[in-house]
Structures are given as C-alpha cells and as structure tokens.
C-alpha cells in the first residue's frame, strides 16, 4: 500500500488507491483460502469409511474463497476499469489511526487493570487529546460512565466483567 503518488495541486496526499488496497486485501483473502484448502486436505477432504470427512465441506469453501479472490485480484490489477479513486488520504488515515491505536492500548490496559479502570482512563484521555476538553471534565465523565457500567453489570444484571490480572478494584468486593 505504499504507492503514494501525490497529484500536483491535490490538497491532501493520497496514501492509497482503491485498486491497490483491493489487490492487497484480495491477496490476503487468497492466502486465507489456500490455508483453508491445505488444512481441509490434512483433515480428510475426501470420503472416509463413515461418510464425508471433516475437511469435506471446508475444502470447497476454501476453493470458492481462492477462486473468487483471484477474480478480484485480477480485476484490481489487470482490468481496464479498475478503480483508481483515493482509498484514504493522509488526514483521513491519521484520523482513523487516532481512534484505532488508542483502542489497542485500551484493550491491552483491560488485560491488566480490568474493564472499568481502563474505560475511565480511555474515555478521559480520548476527550482531552482529541476533544480538547479540560482534564477535570474529562476525568469526571470517564469515571461517571465507568461507574454507570459498574452499577449496571455488577450490581443490577450480575454479569461480572473482566477485572484484570492486577485486579485493582478487588477492595469493592465484586
């Protein structure tokens, strides 16, 4: 996805074009299909003594996946009608990453400190960094939202959520 070819006068450099992303995704899907076919063959894609083997159905599914993604790959690379429109420009990509990367950190944080604390911190940080809110307001909303979820899940519906390996909320007794 590195064929960034900024057109002269374009306000934002285009990071990727539709056809190139399309081709990469199709190639990945083809690989997935190939893995499915190989795995299915290993499991027994043929007829066993008591009927069709475990790999019988997945084998054909993998085959369809391979053929169809090969078709997309062909259309994206070789077809005259391929879509060279912009997939994403730099500003958009930065915006998407500004949501996605913190989301990854959020999930990492959950594994250690649990959903409630991670959520409060995540919402607060998001509000301060992307929303330019004053820290006290962000912290207040983060804690309130988290507390609401705590009341709803732990107290009301009695569905325990993940407390994290460190379990910093153990003192609450839930």
């Amino acid at each position: 996805m590195s064929d960034a070819s900024p057109e002269s006068g374009a306000p934002q450099p285009v990071l990727a074009r539709n056809c190139s992303v399309d081709a990469v995704v199709a190639a990945v899907l083809f690989a997935v299909g190939a893995v499915v076919v190989v795995q299915a063959r290993a499991l027994g894609a043929g007829w066993t003594s008591d009927g069709p083997g475990s790999g019988y159905f997945p084998f054909y599914i993998g085959l369809i996946l391979c053929i169809a993604s090969a078709g997309i790959l062909y259309q994206a690379v070789a077809s005259k009608k391929r879509d060279t429109g912009a997939f994403v420009d730099r500003e958009q990509f930065v915006r998407v990453l500004s949501v996605f990367v913190p989301a990854i950190f959020f999930v990492v944080a959950i594994t250690f400190v649990g959903i409630y604390i991670a959520s409060a911190v995540y919402i607060a940080v998001f509000m301060v960094v992307l929303g330019k809110y004053p820290a006290w307001k962000a912290a207040l909303i983060g804690v309130l939202v988290s507390a609401a979820f705590f009341a709803m899940f732990e107290v009301w519906f009695r569905v325990p959520l993940y407390k994290g390996t460190l379990d910093p909320l153990a003192f609450l007794g839930y």
Partner: protein, 510 residues
C-alpha cells in the same frame, strides 16, 4: 382461523406488566442505538444479548425484537434532521427527508417517516401471522437435502440480487463459512483449523464478528469522515402530527406498493437497504410528482421508510419458520434463540407455541409502542447527536468491548473484535457486503450438517439435490440466481444497455 386464536393466546402471553415495561425499554434503547453512529440493529442486539440470558425466552425476545424495531424507527431521525443516515436502510430517506427539514418541515417529515414505518411493519406482521405457520407446516416435511437447498438459495440470492461485484459477495460468504468451520467439528469431534490453539477450539462467535464488523468498523469509518453534526431543529406537536396524518392517505398506492416490495425483499435475503432504494425508485417513476422527488416530497419519505420497515419485519419470517434469518439482525436474534435453548425452524411452531405467538403478538404491540415513543421523544434523541463525537466514540468502543467480553467472558474475544473491526472498515470501504459473511458465520454449521447428511444419504452423489421436484426446483432456482450476474451480462450484450438511475447508484453495498 387457527392463527387468530393462537395470536390471541400470544397477546395473553405478552400482556404482562413486565413484558410491556421491557417493550418500552427495548424501544427506547433501540432508537438510541439507531441514532448513535457505530451502533445499529445487529450489533446493538448482539451487545445486549448476554443481558437477557437470565430472563425467560419470551421476555428476552420481546425486549430484543423491540430493540430492533426501535433501531428501524431511529434510523429515520438522523437522516431527516442531520442528513446522516444512522443505518444503511435510511440512506434513501435522506433524499427527500433532509430537504423537507431544510424547508422547516422536519416535524412533518418525521411524522410521515414514523407513520409509514409503522404501516410497513403492520402489513409485514399481518403477512407473518398468516404465512409463517403455513411455511412452517410445509417445511416440516423437509429433509436434509431440502434444507441444504434452501440454504443454497439463501446464499445464491445474495449473489443474484446483491449490488456490487459478485466475486466480493462470494468471498464475503466463503470467509464466513471458513470462520464458522474453525473449532470442533460437530460430527466427527475433530479439531479444525485451530493451529494447536486451545482458545480457538470454541471457534469464532458470530456475535463477536457482528460487534466488530458493524460497531468498530463503523466508528473507524465515521472518524475518517471527521464528523461534524449540523442538525435541524425538530419540533413535533400534536397539531403537526394530525395535519400530516390527514395528508398521508393520499399516498396509499405508494404505501401498498412499498409494503409489497419490502415484504418480498425481506423474505428473500435482499434486506431493508435494497428494499428502500427499490421502493424509492419505483415511487419516483410512478408518482405524479416524481419529477419533484429529491426536493422535499412527503411521498419520497413515505416510500423508502415503508419498504425498509416492512423488509426488516418480514426478515423474521424465514427465521421463525425455517431457521434461516433474512438479515444480520435476524441472524443475531436467531443466535439468541439457540442460546435460550430453543431450536429455530419449523418445529418451533409445534413445540414452542407460546414463544412463537408471543413474539408475533409482541410485533404488533412493539410497533405501536415504538410509534408512541418516537413521536413523543424525538427532540430528546436529536439532542443526543449534539454530544460531541470525541465523547461518543470512546464510549461506544467501551460498550463494544464490554459486549464482546460478556459473550463468553473471554479476553481473546475482545481482540477478535478489534480484528473484525479492521475487516469491517476495509470491507465497507472496498464494497464487500457484510451480510453474507454474518449469515454464513451463523448458518455455517447447520448448512454443513445438512450438506453432509444429504451426501451421506446419497453416498456422495450430488444429484440428490434434484431427487424430487421440490428440492430440484429450489436448487435450480438457486443456481439460476448464482449465475444471474453472468446471465444479465449476456442479456445486456444482446440488448442495448439502459441508463442507470442516478438514485440507485447511491445505494450502499449492505
């Protein structure tokens, strides 16, 4: 009139204070979900599903189906007031709804949208009441080959009736089936494609996929566009409602036509989005005011809303009668049935009478409750969209993470959710349809079982799919739909191509 009797019994089951309360809770949550970006009918129901595990199945389905009705109603609010379709099926509503709001007639547009939604749903529920038991009775005679033929028909009609590249529809479907195959094989007990990972034994839960694909994917998409909401004020008072209601009977032809389009597209897995576009296109072509469509015609709001709601409702017919959902949201509800220990399919009508008729009765009541709720609370929901995106986005991601975790109380699922979010973002941008993936993931094991059983019966002979007229005609129809993109290309080569309606060109791949 056995059906009417059963229906009255259903009303008796549903009409308890608890269920009516849950109905209003469900509708309110549903409208909220429909209004918020990143939360829609399918993933909203998926996230709330674990909360219903402890309820009785009837109460649970009443609440969840009401969330669905609420989401169907709610999509119109953002379309009309903000020109932002909250759901894909309300894209067509923006064409005339937003111009009406700009002219200061938002109240009229909203009233027309809600009322036609209600009428579309009502017609569809009437159809379900009388048709579903018949279909179920008919399907009781189905064997494995017939069921596989119906599954085949379901998936082939995605290819035949879908918009966009047939290759992409096939890929989306095959990916769903492949993900469904991961884990323990139900027949032989062998582990498939787990790569030695014990956590993969459980396989991929479609609820996680739905939350990731529709929830996280949608948030990433909304973020990319850099949302800045600028909405019109909504004022609905009884006078506006009454005045609009007096106008609506004029459009009865459009309403009837749209309901029929919706019902047809809902039963076949065409879905609400194509239904709303098709109905808008037809109304534009056939109405006397067709030329003025797009500048704020009430009829242009009536047509897509009626069809979308009729389609959304009738998608439940194949789910109830055959165990085959007609839309992603119906698929999630079907997953709910399985979790509550009910086996969807024709036997449901025999073994779980109370549940089925309770559900059908709740469709009538839920839509009435929905109409009341949306007509009275629109300003409240419109104000929710004025909450800045930098607060809404993290809260929705937190909700999605909680929803994904509660399905199996597994952290790995939360990671999968993020992964599916990326897939959802890429697929949406590259025009891969998501519905076939979700449906294949839900139906994967059942379709495979019926395929294997058929093959066992025939000792591997594919011709069993033509062994009697019934299964033969379903299979032939399915193959015809599968090859439809090719056939229509050939036809287009012989005949001169028609110009594509610019309205239909805006239809999103759903």
């Amino acid at each position: 009139m056995v059906e009417l009797n059963s229906l009255l019994q259903g009303f008796a089951v549903v009409l308890t204070p608890l269920n009516i309360g849950l109905m209003f809770v469900g509708i309110t949550l549903g409208v909220l979900i429909g209004v918020l970006p990143g939360l829609g009918g399918a993933n909203g129901v998926a996230i709330l599903l674990p909360l219903t595990f402890t309820m009785s199945p009837t109460s649970a389905i009443v609440m969840l189906s009401c969330i669905y009705w609420g989401a169907l109603f709610g999509g119109a609010i953002t379309s009309i007031l903000f020109n932002i379709p909250g759901e894909p099926w309300s894209v067509a509503t923006t064409f005339d709804g937003y111009p009406l709001a700009q002219k200061g007639q938002a109240g009229q547009a909203l009233t027309a949208a809600f009322t036609s939604s209600f009428i579309g749903a009502l017609v569809a529920v009437l159809m379900i009441t009388f048709l579903a038991p018949m279909v179920a009775k008919f399907a009781l005679r189905f064997g494995a080959p017939e069921f596989f033929a119906v599954y085949l028909l379901t998936f082939c009609s995605f290819v035949g009736m879908g918009k966009g590249s047939p290759f992409k529809i096939l890929v989306s479907m095959a990916l769903g089936f492949a993900l469904a195959a991961v884990g323990m094989d139900t027949v032989t007990g062998q582990l498939r494609m787990t790569f030695g990972q014990a956590e993969l034994m459980r396989g991929f839960d479609f609820l996680i996929a739905v939350i990731g694909l529709f929830g996280i994917g949608e948030i990433l998409l909304s973020m990319e566009e850099g949302l800045a909401f600028s909405g019109k004020a909504a004022r609905i008072n009884p006078k506006v409602v009454w005045e609009t209601w007096k106008l609506l009977p004029r459009f009865w032809v459009t309403s009837v036509r749209s309901s029929l389009v919706g019902i047809w597209m809902g039963i076949t897995p065409g879905g609400a989005t194509p239904a709303s576009f098709m109905s808008y296109g037809l109304a534009k072509k056939m109405s006397r005011n067709g030329a003025k469509f797009g500048t704020g015609e009430l009829e242009g709001v009536v047509a897509p809303e009626t069809a979308a709601h009729a389609a959304g409702t009738s998608a439940l017919l194949p789910m109830l009668a055959l165990g085959i959902p007609g839309s992603p949201t119906a698929a999630v509800l079907l997953g709910g049935l399985l979790i509550w220990g009910l086996q969807p399919g024709p036997l449901l009508f025999v073994e779980q009478k109370d549940f089925v008729w309770g559900l059908i009765a709740s469709m009538y009541l839920g839509n009435i409750a929905g109409l009341i709720v949306v007509l009275t609370t629109v300003p409240l929901f419109a104000s929710i969209l004025r909450i800045p995106f930098s607060i809404i986005a993290p809260v929705i991601i937190v909700i999605c993470a909680i929803g994904a975790y509660t399905v199996h109380s597994a952290m790995l699922d939360v990671w999968f959710m993020l992964g599916f979010g990326v897939v959802g973002y890429l697929f949406k941008k590259l025009d891969y349809p998501l519905a076939p993936l979700v449906l294949a993931l839900v139906l994967g094991d059942k379709a495979e079982d019926s395929f294997r059983q058929s093959m066992l019966v025939s000792q591997g002979d594919v011709l069993i799919m033509w062994s009697n007229p019934l299964v033969g005609s379903i299979t032939t129809l399915a193959l015809l739909l599968l090859l439809w993109p090719l056939i229509s290309k050939l036809v287009a080569r012989v005949r001169r191509p028609k110009a594509v309606d610019p309205v239909l060109a805006e239809q999103p791949v759903d």
